[in-house]
Amino acid sequence: MKTKSKNGPSCSRRFFLKGLGAAGMAGALTTLSGCKDAGKPSGGEGWTPQQYNAPGSWPVQVRGRVPIDPHNPSIVRDDRKCILCGQCTEACKHVQSVEGFYGLPIKNDITCINCGQCALWCPTGAISERDDIAKVLRVIGDTRLHVIVQTAPATRIAIGEEFGMPAGSIVEGKMVAALKLLGFDRVFDTNFSADLTIMEEGTELVNRIRAAAGGHGESGHGHAPTALPQFSSCSPGWVKFCEYFYPDLLENMSTCKSPQQMLGAVAKTYYAKKKGIDPRQIVSVAIMPCTAKKFEASRSEMNSAGVMAGDPGMRDVDFVLTTRELARMIKGKGIDFVKLDPQPYDSLMGEGTGAAVIFAASGGVMEAAIRSGYFLLTGENPPESLYNLSAVRGLQGVKEASLTVPGFGELRVAVSQGLANARQLLDQIRADKQAGRPPRYHFIEFMACPGGCLSGGGQPKTSVPPSDWVRKERLHSIYTIDAKLAKKRLSHENKEVADLYADYLGKPNGDMAHRLLHTTYTDRSGQLTAKNKA
């Protein structure tokens, strides 16, 4: 004991080795006994949305998501944000009647009409438009290029929402000012080419009606189709839908390009010639409420100006940005949109009438066409009642109207929005056609998106999923511009359009107009096995 306290606790060599051995044995035993309990298997710590978690294999109504081709020119998806809520499928299947309306196995195409409604419905922003902002900024930065931009009717009543303004705020002047600040060389109005579209489409309608009555169209083009009813062709989502599912009715489709493509073709011909600019130096940008417009601009046949200039690789419209992308561009530049002083559109292609603005609303193309169609048929401006054709206005899925035109008789028209609704009309027309019955209508306006362009797939996501209150606010603003703010309300009174015909195109549906403003369609039925029901 004495030595212990002197030198600290003593430990014999034997005792130490014994302890070490015992500890080793205990450790080995503990480790081995741990093997009996294998611990938790990896994975399974996360979550899935509520609808998929019912025990057992119960059926789930809302499931999965839409397929998107990675090469889709209009929309892209970021899987990191996808929560499999199924809203995109809801929009695609039940609003647009695309997904589920083709048989499986698929062919070599992911059926998509590029409308972008899925992007509008997506609550997490996983689906969005293909972002082309960087490309546009690059051409703006290149001083050798003359960058022009056009803005669709529906952008001016929606883009303010991206900057905290109330839904449907009319911000046409501010938007033009912002575009000029962004560095675009000229800011044109798609309203101008909407009026131009009415001249072409209205003339085409009159020609079709006269051909059906046995006569010959006044200025009809040699190979112009004569089938009635005539379908409007402004909505590229609708056009692709018809190409996929109703190719037998493509002869009813107006051969007119959409206003976007008309302005693009005219810009690189008429405008280039007037201003003495090489069309190859012009870059044409379009601000659209629509993701399908990106696809439309990329269609191979949309190169009329290029063909005319001997450079078929040149596109009529080079880049399409959605309203949301323009808003991001403005925010990116730090421009205080709300405080901007309004500026006017640039001349030559900047004038637009009230008839053009209402293109943004479902029924608007019809109303504008009736106003000018009346003039084309009778030579007189329409009576006051045709300036407020309430039968074709509003958010109903299918709308019908019938009016009497002096010297012509009854003109029967229909309007449809949302392609699930369009099927009602299309199936009827197909059945009539197969049975050899006379057409029920003379003219039908189809818009892919519910409400028309004002609730297009590229518009601000002011309510998610898009709701009728936003549509109604925007609708109200559109008709307010037409009734109260527009100086003119008839497309055929657009002075700049009249100048374009006088100086360059000749007459509506004439040869030059056909080369630049009309197009052809593709039967896409071979890319899917169409089904009538999901």
């Binding site: 938790k40 994975g43 399974g44 025990p55 999965g64 998501r65 196995p105 070599n108």
Partner: protein
């Protein structure tokens, strides 16, 4: 009852919902640039337990077509990975899934060599890596739920159920629609059978499936040898011991002889 999944690849349009469900449920990271989950470049890697690969093929009419193949661990009935695992970190459960227990894993990666389909992956870019592979949502399956990828499929490409019933269902579908399907259920006999069974209208090798695998279970091959080991070991022990003793006795006798002849003494 052993569970399985029947995948009808003619019904897949490549939305990739199953891959997202897998990532959500198993909390796996995304790397769409280097490790995409859907498309031509999609590959099973450590963070991708399931992928949907895209293949350009020719359909029954001779037209170009796209097909999508959902890939993940096939969950062999007699898994080579589990048989090769030294510590029992990979185990086939009675419910069907072949499950990995990371707490037991020593990181030897024998499973990766053993797997005939090259499924187990290693988390090479982690400091303390684990093996990584589809668990067939084991915790869901034991709770009576279907795996996450199956629950979310919009086209009901996959059907979850008892494996035996699914094999019969697969043959019923082939019989009902012979002009569409290839007359083969991939996974019925491959490597002795897998829990995941596939139907296709294309030859399976065109959809990236490994068709050259043996039709017998792989552990059965090693078992042919291993089962004889105890007998061989005991036999050899007995023989060698016998030889030793005989030699010893002979040597002892020889030494005794030498002693009598008066050999050198130590």
């Amino acid at each position: 009852m052993s569970k399985g999944v029947l995948v009808d690849m003619t019904k897949c349009f490549g939305c990739g919902a199953c891959t997202v469900a897998c990532k959500l449920w198993n909390e796996k990271k995304y790397d769409e640039v280097n490790k995409p989950t859907v498309g031509e470049a999609a590959q099973l890697v450590d963070i991708n337990w399931t992928v949907v690969s895209k293949h350009d093929v020719t359909d029954g009419n001779g037209d170009a077509a796209w097909r999508f193949a959902k890939k993940q661990c096939l969950h062999c009935v007699d898994p080579a990975c589990a048989s090769s695992c030294l510590v029992g970190a990979l185990r086939r459960t009675p419910e069907g899934p072949v499950v990995y227990h990371p707490d037991l894993c020593v990181g030897c990666r024998y499973c990766m060599v053993a797997c005939p389909f090259n499924i187990p992956k290693y988390e090479w870019d982690k400091s303390f890596p684990k093996v990584s592979k589809c668990q067939m949502c084991f915790t869901r399956v034991v709770a009576g739920e279907q795996p996450a990828c199956i629950a979310v499929c919009p086209n009901q490409v996959m059907q979850f159920g008892d494996r035996d019933a699914l094999v019969r269902e697969a043959h019923r579908r082939i019989a009902d629609n012979g002009q569409l399907y290839v007359n083969h259920v991939f996974g019925e006999t491959e490597v002795g059978g897998t829990a995941w069974l596939y139907l296709s209208d294309q030859p399976f090798d065109r959809l990236g499936f490994k068709t050259s695998v043996p039709q017998e279970s792989l552990p059965a091959y090693t078992w042919q040898i291993l089962s004889k080991l105890p007998a061989i070991l005991l036999g050899w022990t007995a023989i060698l011991s016998g030889i030793y003793f005989i030699n010893k006795r002979r040597n002892g006798a020889a030494e005794g002889k030498q002693d009598t002849t008066g050999g050198p003494q130590a």
